[in-house]
């Protein structure tokens, strides 16, 4: 059993993963997982709005407003009572709905199944995609060498 802090950290982990995931990939994994259609009630229907992104002066100093990004949020409650939330970059309502549904399911008895069929593939694909980009960046790293002149 996890401590409340650990539970929050785990939930932050999957909520972030779901928000960053490509919407089509999340949809495909949930379809492929062969999950039943879950009945739920909306606590907040999907709504698209703007979130003001902030930066810090010099990267570390006082905050300033950088500009907005589009975000879609929603909240729902499963028949079994678990409440799922989503705040997802972009304007895709279906993405927010799926993210909230997975968030709710991860708090219930099907958590292990959802973890294995949806979250684990998303996490490994994200890591692979990040590595692929970092590998290309690494190939452009400059190796300096000194030319010996004279003698």
């Amino acid at each position: 059993m996890e401590t409340p802090e650990q539970e929050i950290a785990l939930r932050q982990g999957w909520m972030g993963l779901l928000a960053r995931a490509p919407a089509e990939r999340l949809a495909a994994l949930m379809e492929g997982a062969d999950m039943p259609d879950f009945d739920f009630d909306w606590l907040r229907v999907p709504e698209t709005g703007g979130v003001m992104v902030r930066g810090r002066m010099g990267g570390t100093g006082a905050p300033f407003n950088l500009g907005e990004m589009t975000v879609t949020r929603c909240a729902l409650r499963l028949q079994s009572g678990e409440v799922g939330h989503a705040h997802v970059k972009g304007r895709n309502r279906a993405h927010a709905e799926r993210a909230a549904l997975v968030d709710a399911l991860m708090q219930g008895p099907r958590a292990a199944e959802v973890q294995a069929s949806v979250l684990a593939p998303l996490a490994s694909e994200e890591a692979a995609q990040r590595d692929a980009r970092a590998a290309k960046a690494a190939a452009t790293k400059v190796d300096f060498f000194t030319m010996v002149r004279g003698e």
Binding site: G16, M52, F64, K141
Partner: protein, 363 residues
């Protein structure tokens, strides 16, 4: 004076129909899709997001298509759309120190920890047209090396350890927001940075260039330039903890500038800062130079009357949507205004000519 005049609806409808047809161009050429613009005109998309002040690559690509590639028109469309969005809140300040860098260079330290990583840059290309791009073909695959997974340290951190550069003390003050309250001067640095990051790239570049040419010179070095992905976190009240809501690509530039010191402070390097949506390094470097020029007062420097030192001049003219709105409105009907001017000029001429004739007759 304004007088309502009716008419022109049919002409306007026909003009917009023709605009739609011209936008499509030659129907024998395949139509551009929005994803094609998003993927292949990515730097135009980045500029529209930065100056439109809304990070959404699909919307920016759509705006570019609708505007026929006129980026200021596209930025206008994004700004107009932005005003229709409810504000859901604000993010925690992004941690650019944790950026997963595609590119990271320093012009001040050759052997900087983390290395000089060039990334997908135009630098060192020969600027010769590549006619191979006229033909369709497979894109070459980029080569790969052992990926770096740990965060890349900041160059200014090294200087800061020895007290050689001005510290940038962390605060959690709520910054003013120019999209919520009208601008007031003096604006202060947070508002200046907000205005500069959404300012017109050409204008901010011109201001930055003017400082390099001597109009408020501040001797900048690019201490560090980094481009890459950062996560955006937001506090969600219903949850009571912050969550990551997505990732953005940002460009950050920190300049290291000479500073002779003053009566109060020993000699120390100072900083200019640029942070812009997308891969937008010309803009980020320009922003850092102008930020530094505008800091003359807080650093106790002399105001030599350079345009880039004039906060109100810079900020009030950096917005290309305000600029284009005021500039382009003069082409819209001003018939009544002009009619009154015309009558005035006729009257003045008649008076002047009448006086001249009278003089002639008298002589």
């Amino acid at each position: 004076m304004y007088v309502a005049v009716k008419g022109g609806e049919r002409a306007i409808d026909a003009a917009h129909e023709w605009l739609a047809e011209e936008r499509r161009g030659d129907a024998a050429v395949p139509e551009l899709t929005v994803p094609q613009i998003r993927e292949q005109m990515a730097l135009a998309v980045n500029r529209v997001m930065a100056e439109g002040s809304l990070y959404d690559p699909d919307l920016a690509a759509l705006a570019i298509k609708q505007a026929r590639g006129d980026l200021i028109e596209a930025i206008f469309l994004i700004r107009a759309y932005r005003t229709t969005l409810p504000r859901l809140g604000h993010s925690a300040p992004v941690d650019t120190g944790a950026m997963r860098c595609d590119r990271r260079i320093s012009a001040t330290f050759k052997d900087v920890p983390g290395g000089q990583v060039l990334g997908p840059t135009f630098d060192y290309t020969h600027r010769l047209l590549d006619f191979a791009l006229e033909a369709e073909g497979e894109a070459p695959r980029a080569r790969e090396a052992e990926p770096r997974r740990e965060p890349t340290p900041r160059v200014t951190e090294f200087l800061n350890k020895d007290g050689l550069i001005q510290d940038e003390p962390r605060t959690d003050a709520t910054p003013p927001d120019m999209t919520r309250e009208p601008m007031e001067y003096p604006a202060g640095r947070p508002l200046r940075l907000q205005a500069l990051t959404r300012g017109d790239e050409g204008f901010v570049l011109g201001m930055a260039y003017s400082t390099q040419r001597g109009y408020g010179r501040n001797h900048p070095f690019v201490g560090e330039l980094r481009i890459g992905a950062v996560e955006v976190e937001m506090e969600v009240p219903e949850l009571g903890f912050p969550v990551c809501i997505g990732e953005l690509t940002l460009t950050e530039c920190e300049t290291v500038n000479q500073f002779a010191g003053s009566k109060l402070e020993p000699a120390q390097f100072t900083r200019g800062y640029g942070l812009v949506f997308g891969q937008t390094e010309r803009k980020a470097i320009s922003m850092a130079l102008v930020d530094r020029a505008l800091r003359w007062e807080e650093l106790g420097e002399e105001n030599i009357g350079a345009p880039a030192q004039d906060e109100e001049f810079v900020l009030a003219h950096s917005d290309n949507i305000q600029g284009t709105g005021f500039l382009e409105h003069i082409k819209l009907p001003h018939y009544v205004d002009f009619q009154s001017e015309l009558e005035l000029v006729r009257k003045m001429r008649a008076e002047a000519l009448g006086t001249a004739k009278f003089k002639e007759a008298a002589e």
